[in-house]
Symmetry: C2
Subunit: 220 residues, 2 copies
DNA sequence: TTGCAATTCAAACACTTGTATGAAACTATC
DNA sequence: GATAGTTTCATACAAGTGTTTGAATTGCAA
C-alpha cells in the first residue's frame, strides 16, 4: 500500500509524456526518468507497459462515459422516458468535446492525452475502445425511443455521423484551424457542440421522401 | 534499372502485410521474407523503412486526389465555374469512400492498406497528410463559389464535417457493422456516399436563422 | 570477352526495447 | 527491536529493430 506515491508519479509522468510526444516515441525509460522512479517500478506496479497505458485511458474514458450516461438519464427522466433527440446527441458528444477541446493554453494534460489516444490508437487503447459498443447501444436505444418513426438503420447512421463529427473535429482540430486560417474557433467548445448536435439532428430528422428523391437526382 | 522486379515485389509484399496486420507489428524482415528478397534490398531501393511506407501511401493518395480534382473540375466546368454543392461534396468524399469501402471479399489490398493508414496513422503517413491542406483549399474555394452567401466559417465547418463522416465511416466501419448488427450495409458504397453527401449538404444549406434560434433554445 | 556499374546477398552492427532478477531498503506489526 | 511483507533499486537479460558493410553476383555495353 504505502503512499502510492510512486504509482501516481508514474501515471502522471506517463500521461504528460504521451500527451506531449505521442505513444510512438516514449519509452519506459523516459517515463521513469520523468517520474524520478526506478525502471522496474512500472512492471512492479502495473505489470506491463500496455497495462499502464490501458489504465491511463480507462480512467479517463470511464469518466467521460459516466458523464454521458448521467446527462442521458437526466434527459430521459425529465421527458418521461423519452428525450428530445438534440438533448440525447448533446449528451453523446458534449462530454467528449468538452473533455478534449477548449483554450489550448488551459488544456489539461489528460485532455491532450485523450487527443493523442484518438489520433494514434495503439493496441491497448484499441482493445478498450472495442468494448465501448454496449455503451453506444444505450444511446441507440434512447434515440430510437426519441424517434420511433425512424428506421434502425437511420438511427445507427445518425449515431455514426454524430460520433464522426465529434471525434474528427478533435483529432483534426489542428488541421481545421490551419485550413480555416484560424477562422474556426475551436476554443468556443459550446459552439462546436452546438454545430455537431445541430447537423446530427438534421441528419436524423430530415424527411425521408425528400432524401430519397434527392438521391435519385444526384446519384451519378 | 533492370526489371525493378525486387522493388515492386517489396512494395506489393509490404502493402499486403501492412493491410493484413497493421503497421505496428510488421518488420522489415517480415516484408523481405514475404517478397523473397534480401533484407538489405529495402534500404537499397527505398532508403529507409519510413520512405517505403511513404511511397506506398503517396502513390495511392495521389490517385485519390487526382480523381477528386477530376470530378470537381468536370462539375465546375459543366456549371460555368459554379457547381452544385452536392456535386462538389460528392467529388470530395466519393473517391475516398469508393476506394476504401465495398464488398469485403473483393476489397483490394490497397483499399485495406488505406483503411489501416486511416486507423493507425504512423509518422511518415501523418507527414504526408499534413501536406494535404492545399488540396482541401481547392474544395473550400469551390464550395464558396457554390454557396456565396455562406460565411467562410460555415464553409470550413461543412468541409470538416463531410470529411469527418467519410473518414470515420471508413475507419470505424467494422464497429458500425457490429453496432448495427449488420443492418447498415457498408457494401453499398453509393448509398454511403449519398448519405454523407446529403447530410453535409444539409449542414451547409440549412437556414442560419433557424440554426441560431435552435442554439439559443438547446444550449445548456 | 572485358570492364563497369547496378544489384543482391549474408553477416554483423549498434541500439533500443520491455521485462526479469535478486539483493537492499523501507515500513509497520507484534 | 526483531520480523515479515512491501517497495525500491541497480543491473542484466533476451530479443528484436532498422541500418550498414563489403564482398559476390549479375547484366549490359564496348
Amino acid at each position: 500500500m504505502a503512499s502510492d506515491h510512486t504509482r501516481s508519479a508514474i501515471l502522471a509522468a506517463a500521461e504528460r509524456l504521451y500527451a506531449d510526444r505521442g505513444f510512438g516515441d516514449v519509452t519506459l525509460r523516459d517515463i521513469v526518468a520523468e517520474a524520478n522512479v526506478n525502471l522496474a517500478a512500472v512492471n512492479y506496479h502495473f505489470g506491463s507497459k500496455d497495462e499502464l497505458i490501458a489504465e491511463l485511458f480507462v480512467t479517463r474514458s470511464i469518466a467521460t462515459n459516466r458523464e454521458r450516461l448521467r446527462e442521458l438519464k437526466a434527459a430521459e427522466e425529465a421527458g418521461g422516458g423519452r428525450a428530445p433527440i438534440e438533448v440525447i446527441l448533446r449528451a453523446l458528444v458534449g462530454p467528449t468535446l468538452r473533455g478534449c477541446l477548449g483554450p489550448e493554453n488551459q488544456r489539461s494534460t489528460s485532455a491532450r492525452f485523450m487527443i493523442r489516444a484518438s489520433i494514434e490508437s495503439v493496441p491497448p487503447i484499441r482493445r478498450i475502445k472495442n468494448r465501448e459498443i454496449d455503451h453506444l447501444r444505450k444511446f441507440a436505444g434512447a434515440m430510437r425511443r426519441s424517434l420511433p418513426d425512424r428506421s434502425d438503420v437511420d438511427i445507427y447512421w445518425g449515431l455514426n455521423f454524430a460520433l464522426a463529427m465529434a471525434h474528427h473535429t478533435i483529432r483534426e482540430s489542428e488541421r481545421l484551424t490551419k485550413l480555416s486560417e484560424g477562422k474556426c474557433d475551436l476554443d468556443d467548445v459550446e459552439d462546436v457542440v452546438q454545430r455537431v448536435v445541430s447537423v446530427a439532428t438534421m441528419a436524423l430528422t430530415a424527411g425521408k421522401a425528400e432524401a430519397k428523391g434527392l438521391s435519385k437526382v444526384a446519384a451519378r
